[in-house]
Every structure is written in structure tokens, then in C-alpha cells.
Amino acid sequence: MQPVGAAVPLRVDIAEKIFRSAQGVSITALRDLSFEVRQGEFACLLGPSGCGKTTTLRILLGLDKDFSGSFQLPEGGSNRIAAVFQEPILLPWRTVEQNVRLALPKSLRTKNLDGLFDTLGLAGMRSLYPAELSLGLARRAALARAFATEPAVLFLDEPFASLDERTAERLRHLLLTVWSARPTTALMVTHNLREALMLSDRIIVLAQRPAHVLGMFDVRLPRHYRNTQVMSDLLRSFHQKFPGVA
């Protein structure tokens, strides 16, 4: 569309999303939800559980077409998107490596993935079936699948929510490592403020029912400065700007 479209890989303008139950009850999940994610930016959609974050993501992934409004994914070149879901959703009947390669376009199926598997600590697990993986390893395989496609936009839907905190923390670091090695525009949905502060360049804060953007919170610090001390400062300033959120 506009020339600026190339610099803004993701532009969201959802006017309304209504869920209608079979009994005729209708719930407005999203209203006037607008935001942009800039090229190469790691943005987080932060909001309480059940506020419509996953609904938003499903719309952007093209899985839910019953809404009014529009959104724009990057045009031209690689317009592939990738997603890491709440559950890993690996095909149980295919090995880790087959799962990753199946997500690639036919022409790239045989490309070298050694570096990616190494970075994610999956080098020795490529021929295992998902049932043989721990929860954390399955998440890493899901990350490998997403990054292998070299997507123009990467969507993450609370990928570490169902893990214990230690494993989740390790995976967040791993995510940052692989993301800085293969930078891409990323939009992650989470209800975990600490996670959002640790990972993102910018937090898009959502208000509840119907979901709309409450405001933005920029985290300008380089990620390696975000130690425990800095994190508590960030938390404090976030709470000053958004009292009562998270």
C-alpha cells in the first residue's frame, strides 16, 4: 500500500471482534484495537488472562476471519509468518528434525540447520520423537521450527506459560539468544509483566473487555543490562505509568 508499509511490518486495526454463543449471547472481545510493530522490534502484548490477547493473535495468524477491521502483514519478499503456540504442537509421528523441516517451504527443506539446532541445544535430539522430549525440550523444538522459517513476523502466544519458572527463565534467555542471532520482527502475547520487561523493546498494554490499547511502555535498555536491580526499577516505573495493571 503506502511506501511506509515496508518499514512497518505489522499494522493492526481491528474494529471489533464479537463472539456469539449458540444461545445467542454475544461478547465483544476486542474493540478499536490498533497498534503497530516496527521493523525488527520485539513487542509484547501485555494484558490479564482472558482479555483477548490470544484472540488478537489468532486473527493475525489468519486462523479467525470473523472480525471487522483489518491488519497488514509485510508485503513482498518473504511474507512468511511463524508462530510459537501455548503448547508446542509438534507432530508426534514425526521426529524433531522432520517437524522443523516440514514447516519450511519445499525449496528450503534441505537447508543446513546445524547452527540453529546447536544454539537451541537440540543437536543430539534431532532424530527423537516428541513423546521422547521433556516439556522444555519440546518448547525448544517449537522455537527451532519458528526460527528455521526465517519469518518476516514471529508470533509467540505465551510459549512458556505452562512451564515451571526455572525452565521458563532458561527458555527466555534461549529465545533472546536465538532471536539476536536471527533477528526478526516479533510480537509476543503474555500476562507476565516480568517476562515482557525482560524480553521486549516495547510493551503494548491492553485493557480488558473489550480489549483495546491502554498505552505503550518503552523498554529502551539493552537487554544485557536488565539485571535484577534494573528489573525492579523497570517494574516500579511501569507501575507508576500503569497503576493497577499486572
Partner: protein, 273 residues
């Protein structure tokens, strides 16, 4: 669903080779002893009540050898096996496609469900007779009639399979833009595999019984034709010889084709020890 094979699943590293061999052979031995017991019981009963209508296993074996030596046995077994295979393939393909479509589209299912129930309850004999009347006493009518008898069963099983599909896999495939062939091969078929196996199992057994009726009514070769011939001659030994020969063939197919294929298809279910 998966075959109870103890042999290749137990990691043999820790166990001694002798005991693992014994473990592997036990099921085979059990089957052999069980079948031998049945034969002995049969022989005993045939001796106790000697009659032309109730030959012992020895007599049946003699007939079997004679028929095999003349080549008749293999000719008729081959004819029947060919019809079973053709009807099986047609019934599985057509039934699976219809079943998956009905399982995926609720409105279509509501409309066509009465048809499925109707066809499920039409006796095999009626379909066969009608097929011969409408299409003539030919091979296509014979195989078609058998397939039509089996298709509703496949439809019902595969419809259940399609209803049980996990939408998460379909959504993952949509996000990562799997092509239609990849979706069928890597997403759809593996999920339907247990249902395909169930439909196959019950399918082969049902189909070969119906094929015999088809042959009896309108073909001039095959096991069914031979059984009808020997029925008119009142030759029970020959009837049993042909029946047992075909059951044996089906058993070999089960052991050498169906079970290995199933083991291969479910290899990913192996859990770490």
C-alpha cells in the same frame, strides 16, 4: 489397536539372549499348541462319530494336497484373493473419503446420515443380486457389489476418526502453510491411522466372506464357486479344505502384511524406557 508384540519392544540389552528368545517364542508356541489342540479335538470327534458329512483332519489334508497338486487350489485361491484385494482397495478409498468429509462437515453429515444407515442395513445378498441383475454377471458387478457392502462400515469408522481430529495440528499446518499433500500425508493420515487400521481389520474379514457369496451366485471360479460345487457333490472334506486354505492365506496376510505395516505406522508411539 497395536499388536501385542513383546519381542521388539523390550530392550534386550539387560536381559540374557536366552530368556529374550524364550519371551519372543512364547506367543508363537501358545498359538501352535492351541491350534494343535483344536485339531486333536476335531480328530477325536470325527473318530467317535464317523460320517461322510464329518471328515477328520487327515481326510481334509489329503483333499488339500490333491487340489494343490492339480493346481486347482491356487487358481481358485488366486481368483478370490484378487477380488478381495480389489474390493478392499475400492471400499477403503471411497469409504475413507466419504467418511472424512462427513466427519468434517456437520451439515453434510446431517443430510447424508440417513443414507449411511440405509446402506448399512441393506443385506449383502440384496446388493449382490441387484448388482448382477443391473450390471450383468461380470467381474465389475461382483467387485462393485462387495465394495458397496463394505463402504458404509468404512464411512462410519472414518467419520469417527475425522471427528476426533485435533484442530491444533490443522492450525499449525495453516500457519506454516503446509501444502495440501503435506497436510494429508503428515497431518491427516497419521491422525486417522488407528481408525484406518480398525476399518481395515474388520474390512478384510467381512469382505472375504461376502466375496464367497458373490462367487457362489455369479462367478465360475474362486473359493466360493468351489464350495458351491462341492456342496452339490456333498463333499464336506473339499469344502473344509478350501475354507481352511483361504483362512490360512488370510492369516499369513495378517501376520506378514497387516501387522508389520501397523508396527511401522505406530513406531513413534514408543516411549523412552
Amino acid at each position: 489397536m497395536s499388536a501385542p508384540d513383546t519381542g521388539d519392544r523390550t530392550p534386550g540389552a539387560a536381559a540374557g539372549s536366552q530368556s529374550s528368545l524364550a519371551t519372543a517364542l512364547t506367543p508363537v508356541l501358545t498359538v501352535a499348541v492351541s491350534l494343535l489342540g483344536l485339531c486333536l479335538l476335531w480328530g477325536f470327534a470325527a473318530n467317535a462319530w464317523p460320517s461322510r458329512a464329518f471328515p477328520g483332519p487327515g481326510q481334509v489334508w489329503q483333499v488339500l494336497l490333491a487340489e494343490a497338486a492339480s493346481g486347482d487350489l491356487f487358481y481358485h485361491l488366486g481368483a478370490t484373493l484378487g477380488r478381495v484385494a480389489a474390493a478392499y482397495v475400492i471400499a477403503m478409498v471411497v469409504g475413507s473419503v466419504i467418511g472424512v468429509l462427513l466427519g468434517s462437515y456437520r451439515n453434510a453429515d446431517r443430510f447424508f446420515n440417513p443414507w449411511v444407515i440405509l446402506f448399512l442395513n441393506i443385506p449383502a445378498l440384496v446388493v449382490i443380486v441387484l448388482a448382477y441383475i443391473w450390471f450383468g454377471l461380470n467381474e465389475a458387478a461382483a467387485i462393485g457389489a462387495v465394495a458397496v457392502n463394505k463402504i458404509p462400515n468404512v464411512v462410519v469408522t472414518m467419520r469417527e476418526g475425522a471427528r476426533a481430529l485435533d484442530p491444533n495440528y490443522a492450525e499449525m499446518a495453516a500457519v506454516y502453510r503446509f501444502g495440501p499433500l503435506d497436510r494429508i500425508r503428515h497431518v491427516l493420515l497419521p491422525q486417522l491411522q488407528p481408525y484406518l487400521a480398525a476399518a481395515s481389520r474388520s474390512g478384510i474379514a467381512l469382505i472375504w466372506k461376502i466375496v464367497l457369496v458373490v462367487e457362489l451366485l455369479g462367478r465360475s471360479n474362486g473359493v466360493g464357486f468351489q464350495i458351491y460345487l462341492y456342496f452339490q457333490l456333498f463333499d464336506v472334506a473339499a469344502i473344509l479344505a478350501y475354507t481352511l486354505a483361504f483362512v490360512a492365506v488370510m492369516l499369513v496376510i495378517e501376520l506378514l502384511v497387516v501387522q508389520p505395516v501397523e508396527r511401522h505406522a505406530t513406531r513413534w508411539r514408543r516411549r523412552p524406557a
